[in-house]
């Protein structure tokens, strides 16, 4: 029997929906049947990664345009978490953002570093006139 949960949500391009998506991510981890690791920590990390990825899509990719939308797909099983965040903007250079050398007292730029620290595989590419940030975390 597979224990897989899939969620597909589209939200307006507004930061007021961050809390809602974060809560859905946390609830999803709590509903995973067979996960044996630290569930509270994984729930927090999923909330965080979703929040960072969606903020990036809203503010940078979609440039706060209220007419645009963000689509979020989450697929969770006992072996992996897969997240896709689609934006309708011009896109950005993930490698350049990642290579940026953060100073301790910089005010911006931590989001993408946090995503890289918490996820095993991160890529950003064009897909049918949109961009998608794909993130995978293996669960043991």
């Amino acid at each position: 029997m597979t224990d897989k949960v899939e969620v597909d949500i589209t939200i307006p391009n507004q930061t007021r929906y961050l809390g809602l998506i974060g809560r859905i991510g946390e609830d999803l981890v709590h509903s995973l049947g067979r996960y044996t690791g630290d569930r509270e920590e994984l729930a927090y990390h999923l909330n965080l990664v979703l929040t960072e990825a969606i903020t990036n899509a809203i503010c940078h990719a979609n440039e706060n345009d209220p007419d645009k939308q963000i689509q979020i797909q989450i697929s969770a099983s006992e072996t992996s978490l897969k997240i896709k965040v689609f934006d309708e903007g011009e896109g950005f250079d993930l490698a350049e953002l990642t290579a940026c050398d953060m100073q301790d007292t910089d005010e911006c730029g931590r989001g993408i570093h946090i995503i890289h620290r918490l996820m095993d595989n991160v890529k950003y590419h064009r897909s049918n006139n949109r961009n998608v940030l794909e993130m995978i975390k293996k669960l043991h």
């Binding site: 930061t15 007021r16 961050l18 809390g19 974060g22 509270e40 920590e41 927090y44 909330n47 965080l48 929040t51 960072e52 903020t55 809203i58 503010c59 301790d104 007292t105 910089d106 005010e107 911006c108 730029g109 931590r110 989001g111 570093h113 946090i114 620290r117």
Partner: protein, 111 residues
Amino acid sequence: MQLKTEEIGDVVLIEIEEERMDAHNSGTFKEQMLALFDEGKCNLIIDLSAVRFVDSSGLGALVSGFKNASAREGSLKLSGLQPQVRSMFELTRLHRVFEIFASVEEAQESF
């Protein structure tokens, strides 16, 4: 952002009354701190006891406050971090930047 401020001598205690600090409310928080700096109040304790979740935008707002306080020869100190919030400071190495205290009283005594 929902918060409560209290002046204790020349220190302003800011209690954050939100469960989440993220891109939706951290911009307002920065402005609220700037208003205090404009009034010459540059010794701040930010009590995060009620905060369960903080993202990079929330951390960025705190860094902004820290730099503004330091530039005015004041200081911004933190208290009451919940374990997951504390782990965010460690993940981003910001625990090396901020003075972090277990309670408001301890932060207050350090001024």
